[in-house]
Symmetry: C2
Subunit: 207 residues, 2 copies
């Protein structure tokens, strides 16, 4: 069995990547998610190892010092991280894992695991992005411009990603990501075991 | 519009690549084929520029000297070649082109156009290959062993290909190649025009 894939999906706020990832997971229930480590307190109903791995700030800092995260971030007073070992264990069992994360986190993952599949979701045009952000109705002209500039600035880092998926329709975008998954599993460098088996079989047949 | 893809599909005799390519073309009639240049005489009904480009041995040699072929071969006294300019023109018009060729030809194409998508079709096991070759019924033990050894030897060159497609079922193999086509069109380095357009649009919006 070959290793599973680590799929890292990013995209500017307003590109619709959450909707796309949600539908992708509905169509591919076998697609796993990572369980994050966090320093925040469990909310009602949240379970250790299911929703999060709950750790103290000291434990989190120690994990960071040990380079145990694929990526980590500090948000509103709490730390969050994607545990390297957990993800690697799943992948080693042949399971594909989907990480839907911001570009900052994705670039951290890329430095630590370049066998990941890095996908960036974009709207067909930046005007679409503007319209989608505006439709949320909660933006001031300043925050709209800030989001828009941030989306624009992310475009400079696209070379870090392997794939660019246009979200002109959710169905099409999901279909593209599904195709990327199938294609990546066919990539020559992901089929070392199959190649080894074919070669061994040839040797057994005396060629 | 981005360039079309040049898909190069090879595989050992008996792997079923012709059946797979035939079904792929039925499902994707928009997939173009190259028109080969040949020194052999036209047969009844064959048209210049449709079935082949018919050239004299001298013209063919001159084209070879001018490096006008993506690949060429000499088979049973006649020469055959894939004309570079024809393929590049189709691709520049956004058309995807399928070349179903032997490994020798594929390696020649690879040296001349590494933006091609190189796919190698294999049977699930080498025993399957043996059975499929045997089923044709026309093989002597020697010719069977020769075909089998040749298939085995090709496995050493797999690193030249980008994708390995197992033909465990024709439907699955075709689906994999279709996914590869969709995925390749999403590859970051094949979307320079889209990226440029998004950047220009951002600039027009004053960011």
């Amino acid at each position: 069995m070959e290793d599973g894939l680590l799929l890292v999906v990013s995209g500017p706020s307003g590109a619709g990547k959450s909707t796309v990832c949600a539908q992708l997971r509905t169509e591919m229930p076998e697609l796993g998610l990572s369980v994050s480590v966090t320093t925040r307190s469990p909310r009602a109903g949240e379970e250790e190892g299911i929703n999060y791995f709950f750790r103290t700030a000291e434990q989190f800092a120690q994990m960071q010092a040990n380079d145990e995260f694929l990526e980590s971030a500090h948000v509103y007073g709490n730390s969050y991280g994607t545990p390297k070992q957990y993800v690697f264990d799943q992948i080693a069992q042949g399971k594909d894992i989907l990480l839907e994360i911001e570009m900052q986190g994705a670039l951290q993952v890329k430095r630590r695991f370049d066998r990941g599949v890095f996908i960036f979701v974009v709207p067909p045009t930046l005007s679409d992005l503007k319209h989608r952000i505006l439709k949320r109705g909660s933006e001031t002209p300043e925050s709209l411009m800030r989001r828009f500039s941030s989306a624009y600035n992310e475009l400079s880092y696209l070379d870090e990603y392997h794939y660019l998926v246009v979200n002109d329709s959710v169905d099409l975008a999901v279909e593209r990501i599904r195709s990327i998954i199938v294609a990546e599993k066919c990539r020559m460098d992901r089929n070392a075991r199959l190649r080894r088996r074919l070669l061994d079989e040839g040797a057994d047949n005396g060629v």
